[in-house]
C-alpha cells in the first residue's frame, strides 16, 4: 500500500489487525511498566495483547470478506476475548468501529474515521463514570486528529499518522489530568496501548512502517524514574519531511540505518517522513538533502527531556505532610528506621546526644507540614523538649526512651491519620514493647548489694544493671529470660558495631536454641557500646 489509500478493503483491515498484534507483542512489556490506573495490575499491556490476540486469531481465520464483515468479526472476538479494563474498553472501540462499518465491502478514510468516533462513543458509554487522563482521553484525541485529517482531504495512511500524532499529544497530557500518573511519573498505560495498536495498524497497512509511537525512546520516556538511567548513545531525536524524494522508503532506510536507532521511514502522500535517533543529526540531514527538499526539521536532545523529567520528579512534594524525625545510634538502625518510614534520621545515642539545633535544622530544612520526633534515648528527651519549645505546634514528641520503643512507634504510624491521633497510637504502642541491652561494665559498681567488676558483661534495662555474666551469650540469655513472659512471641536482636555479623549470628542462634516458643530475629544495628539491643514483644 503506497501513498493514498482511497478505499480500505477487508484485506487491508486484516493486515492492520495482524500488524497491530505483532507490534503489541514487541511493546506490551513496556506498557505493563506504565500501569498505575485504574485498578493497577501491572498488566495493561498483557491484557490488551491477549485481547488483540483473540481479535487477530478471529480475523486471520475468517473467510474472505468485506471490511464490514471483518470488523464485525473483530468486535465479536474482542468482546469474548477481552482481558482487564483496558481490554474491555478496546472491545468497545471495536464494537463502535464495526457498527460504523456495518454492511460495507470497503470504506473511505472518512468512513473509517467516523467508525472510530463510534468506537470512542461506545468506549465512553461503557464506563459508568468516565475519567479523563485515561485511554478515553487518548481515544478522543485520536478521533479528533483523524477527523481533521479527513477534512483536509488526506489519504488513509496520513489520516492514521495524524490521528496517532493527535493521540500522542493527548497521551502526554494524561499526567496533568490524573495526579496518580503524575506522581508515578508515567503516562496512561491504556492510552499508550491504544496508540501502539494504531501504530501497529499503520505498520500492517504500510508494510514498511515501524511506528514512532512504538519506538524505543518514546516508551523509555514514559518509564518510571529508576528505569530511565540509560546511556543515550543516540541523544538527538531527529525528524523531517523529504518532499519530491528521489528514492523509495526502503532505500532511505538502507542509507540511514547505520546512523542511529529507532529509525522510522513513512511514505505519505508525495512525502517521506523520517524519524531517527542519532548522535550525528548533521550527517543525517546532509544525506537526506541529496534525495529531495527538507521540511519541518525538528531536532531534540533527548538528554534534556530526561533531565527535565528528573527535575520534575524531584520537585514533587512528599505525599505525607507529617514527617518523622528519628534518632539512630548506628547505620543499621538508621536504615531500618528509614525503611519503616522515618523521613529524617539524626545520628546520636547514649554518649553522643545530638544538640537542640540539629532538630531545629531538620525541621527548617524539611518539607513536612508537621513533625513527630522520636528521641529513642532517655538522655535526648530534654534536647527534644527544648526543640519543641522553640518550634511550637509544628512538632510533637513521642518520648521513646530506647530503640525498640522507637521502632514500635514507627510501626504504629499511619500517614493518613491526624498528627495527635498518631502521637497517641505511637505512645501506646511503644509502651507495649520490652527493651534491654547487653554491654560491658566500664567500672566496678554495686548491683543489689554485690559488686560487678569492671570488664564484666552486663544486661541493662532502663540504664539499670539487671544481670551480669562472664560472656556475651550468658548475659544475653540471662537478660532475655529476665524479661520474657509466656505470651511473648518475638525477640529482635540488633547487633552493635562491636560484633561481626558472624559473631552476632552465632550468639543469636545460641539464644534461640535455649528458648522455646519464641522467634529470635537478628538485624544489624551498628550502634556503639551495646553488643545487642534487645526488644521483646
Amino acid at each position: 500500500m503506497q501513498g493514498k489509500t482511497e478505499w480500505l478493503t477487508g484485506k487491508d483491515f486484516r493486515r492492520m489487525i495482524i500488524g497491530s498484534y505483532q507490534t503489541f507483542i514487541r511493546e506490551h512489556e513496556a506498557i505493563n511498566r506504565l500501569n498505575v490506573f485504574p485498578v493497577p495490575d501491572g498488566d495493561t499491556g498483557t491484557n490488551m495483547l491477549l485481547t488483540l490476540r483473540a481479535v487477530a486469531q478471529a480475523v486471520k481465520d475468517a473467510p474472505e470478506g468485506g471490511i464490514g464483515f471483518l470488523s464485525r468479526r473483530a468486535a465479536d472476538s474482542a468482546i469474548m476475548g477481552a482481558r482487564g479494563n483496558s481490554g474491555v474498553i478496546l472491545s468497545q472501540i471495536f464494537r463502535g468501529i464495526a457498527r460504523g462499518l456495518t454492511g460495507k465491502e470497503q470504506a473511505t478514510s472518512s468512513e473509517v474515521s467516523k467508525a472510530f468516533q463510534y468506537g470512542v462513543l461506545y468506549a465512553y458509554r461503557a464506563v459508568s463514570q468516565p475519567v479523563e487522563g485515561t485511554i478515553l482521553t487518548v481515544a478522543k484525541g485520536i478521533a479528533k486528529g483523524a477527523h481533521r485529517a479527513v477534512r483536509d482531504g488526506l489519504g488513509f495512511i496520513d489520516v492514521l499518522s495524524e490521528a496517532i500524532e493527535a493521540g500522542e499529544v493527548e497521551l502526554q497530557k494524561t499526567p496533568e489530568l490524573l495526579p496518580i500518573l503524575k506522581s508515578a511519573g508515567v503516562v496512561d498505560a491504556g492510552g499508550r496501548g491504544l496508540l501502539v495498536f494504531l501504530a501497529g495498524c499503520l505498520e500492517g497497512l504500510g508494510g514498511d512502517y515501524t511506528s514512532p509511537e512504538a519506538d524505543f525512546a518514546k516508551s523509555l520516556e514514559a518509564l518510571p524514574l529508576e528505569q530511565t538511567k540509560v546511556d543515550l548513545t543516540h541523544p538527538y531525536c531527529t525528524e523531517f519531511l523529504v518532499k519530491h524524494c528521489s528514492i523509495v522508503a526502503a532505500e532511505v532506510r538502507n542509507n540511514l540505518i547505520s546512523l542511529g536507532d529507532s529509525l522510522v521511514v513513512a511514505e505519505g502522500t508525495g512525502v517521506m517522513k523520517v524519524h531517527i535517533h542519532t548522535s550525528r543529526p548533521g550527517v543525517v540531514l546532509e544525506s537526506a538533502m541529496s534525495w529531495g527538499t527538507l521540511h519541518d526539521i525538528k531536532i531534540d536532545n533527548m538528554a534534556d527531556q530526561h533531565q527535565q523529567r528528573h527535575d520534575f520528579l524531584a520537585e514533587l512534594p512528599e505525599h505525607s505532610t507529617i514527617v518523622i524525625i528519628s534518632v539512630a545510634a548506628g547505620q543499621g538502625l538508621a536504615d531500618i528506621m528509614k525503611q519503616m518510614g522515618a523521613g529524617t534520621i539524626i545520628m546520636g545515642g547514649q554518649t553522643m546526644n545530638p544538640p537542640v539545633e540539629e532538630f531545629i535544622d531538620a525541621v527548617h530544612r524539611g518539607n513536612g507540614e508537621k513533625y513527630i520526633i522520636l528521641p529513642n534515648n532517655k538522655n535526648i528527651l530534654l534536647a527534644v523538649a527544648q526543640a519543641k519549645k522553640l518550634l511550637g505546634d509544628r512538632v510533637e514528641i513521642v518520648p521513646t526512651a530506647n530503640v525498640p520503643q522507637g521502632l514500635a512507634a514507627l510501626v504504629a504510624f499511619d500517614a493518613n491519620l491526624p498528627i495527635l491521633e498518631n502521637v497517641k497510637r505511637m505512645i501506646a504502642r511503644s509502651s507495649e514493647v520490652k527493651a534491654a541491652a547487653v554491654t560491658r561494665a566500664v567500672r566496678d559498681s554495686i548491683v543489689e548489694d554485690r559488686t560487678v567488676a569492671a570488664g564484666r558483661f552486663i544486661g541493662v534495662i532502663d540504664n539499670r544493671v539487671v544481670v551480669d555474666a562472664d560472656d556475651i551469650p550468658a548475659t544475653l540469655l540471662a537478660i532475655t529470660e529476665f524479661l520474657l513472659d509466656t505470651e511473648d512471641e518475638i525477640i529482635s536482636l540488633y547487633y552493635g558495631a562491636g560484633l561481626t555479623e558472624q559473631e552476632a549470628a552465632v550468639f543469636a542462634d545460641t539464644l534461640a536454641a535455649q528458648l522455646s516458643g519464641v522467634e529470635v530475629e537478628l538485624y544489624p544495628g551498628g550502634q556503639p557500646h551495646y553488643y545487642f539491643i534487645i526488644s521483646i514483644e
Binding site: 500501569n35 498505575v36 485504574p38 485498578v39 493497577p40 495490575d41 501491572g42 498488566d43 498483557t46 491484557n47 491477549l50 465479536d76 468482546i79 469474548m80 476475548g81 477481552a82 482481558r83 482487564g84 479494563n85 481490554g87 474491555v88 472491545s91 468497545q92 464494537r95 458509554r125 461503557a126 464506563v127 459508568s128 505525599h319 531500618i336 525503611q339 519503616m340 518510614g341 521502632l407 514500635a408 510501626v411 504504629a412 499511619d414 500517614a415 512471641e489 518475638i490 529482635s492 522467634e519 530475629e521 538485624y523 514483644e537
Partner: protein, 279 residues
C-alpha cells in the same frame, strides 16, 4: 422457572450444592494467569497456583470476566424475558462490576441490575442467598436490589495477609504501604473501606494481628454470620474459627471460600473475616 435470575462472579465461591439447587443462579468466572497459561478461577486451587508460580518464578495475574462471558450467560435469559441481578466482587478492587455494567448497557439496562457487593467470598454468597429467597417469596427486582444494597453496607471485610507482596504486585495496595511488612515481620491488618483495601493497623507478628482483628470484630455485637477465610493454612483457620465461636456462641460461623483469583492477590497464609451486621 422464576423470572428473576441471579448471577454471581467466581470470587464469591458459591458452593456447588447451592448452585445445583437453584436453576436461576449462575456463575461468571474471573481468570487467573501465570505466564502464558490461563485458568478460569475454579479450574485451579490456590495451592496449585502458588506451586506453579514458585516453580516458574512468575507472579500470577488476574482478569475480570470478558464482556462476552457475561453476555453468554445473560443474553439467552434476556431473550427469554427474564430479569437479572448481577452481584460482583467489590468494584474498588476489580473491574468486574464495571464490565458487567457495560454489558447491561449493551444488552438491556432496564432488566439487568448490577450490584457492587463491596466485599468478596461468603459476603457475596450471603447476598445471593438473600436474593434467591426473595425471588422465591415473589419480591420484585427493585425490592431485591435495595435489600442487597443494604446488606452490602452492613458487611465488613478484614484481612491479614502473610505478606503484602501479592497485594502490592497485583496493584491493590500502594507502594509505600507495601514497604512495611518486609522488615521486622510487620503484619498489616487490612479492611475494605468503600470497597478498597486500606490499612487499619500494623503490628508485629501474626498473632497480634489476629488479636487486633478480633478487637475490631468485637465492636460489632449483633451479627448475622461470621465468615472465616484462610488461604492454605487450615489449622490457623480452624483456630481462629474456634476463638470466634467462643466469643459469639450464637452466631453462625461459616467458612469463607477463597478461589485462585482472589488468592493471587492475597497470597498464601492469609487469614480473614467477612461478617454482616444484623439489619
Amino acid at each position: 422457572m422464576p423470572t428473576i435470575h441471579i448471577v454471581v462472579d467466581s470470587i464469591g465461591q458459591v458452593p456447588s450444592e447451592m448452585l445445583a439447587m437453584h436453576q436461576n443462579l449462575h456463575i461468571v468466572s474471573l481468570k487467573v494467569r501465570v505466564g502464558d497459561q490461563e485458568w478460569q478461577e475454579n479450574e485451579i486451587s490456590t495451592k496449585k497456583l502458588f506451586e506453579i508460580c514458585q516453580d516458574r518464578k512468575q507472579h500470577p495475574t488476574t482478569s475480570q470476566p470478558a464482556p462476552g462471558d457475561f453476555i453468554t450467560v445473560c443474553k439467552p435469559l434476556i431473550e427469554a424475558g427474564k430479569e437479572i441481578i448481577i452481584i460482583g466482587v467489590s468494584g474498588g478492587v476489580s473491574g468486574t462490576v464495571e464490565g458487567a455494567r457495560s454489558v447491561a448497557k449493551m444488552l438491556d439496562k432496564e432488566h439487568i441490575h448490577v450490584l457492587d457487593s463491596g466485599t468478596a467470598s461468603v459476603g457475596m454468597v450471603a447476598m445471593a442467598k438473600a436474593a434467591l429467597e426473595m425471588v422465591s417469596a415473589g419480591s420484585t427486582a427493585k425490592e431485591i436490589v435495595s435489600r442487597i444494597e443494604a446488606l452490602a453496607k452492613a458487611t465488613h471485610t478484614f484481612l491479614i495477609p502473610d505478606t503484602l507482596e501479592y497485594l502490592y504486585k497485583g496493584g491493590r495496595i500502594g507502594g509505600a504501604a507495601a514497604l512495611f511488612g518486609s522488615i521486622l515481620q510487620i503484619r498489616p491488618l487490612l479492611h475494605l473501606v468503600e470497597g478498597k483495601v486500606a490499612i487499619l493497623d500494623k503490628v508485629r507478628t501474626k498473632q497480634r494481628a489476629v488479636n487486633r482483628m478480633l478487637d475490631e470484630l468485637q465492636k460489632y455485637q449483633s451479627l448475622e454470620y461470621i465468615g472465616v477465610a484462610h488461604i492454605d493454612v487450615p489449622e490457623e483457620g480452624a483456630k481462629l474459627a474456634a476463638r470466634i465461636k467462643e466469643m459469639y456462641p450464637d452466631t453462625p460461623i461459616v467458612s469463607a471460600g477463597i478461589g485462585a483469583v482472589l488468592g493471587a492477590h492475597l497470597g498464601p497464609g492469609l487469614l480473614g473475616l467477612v461478617f454482616q451486621e444484623k439489619i
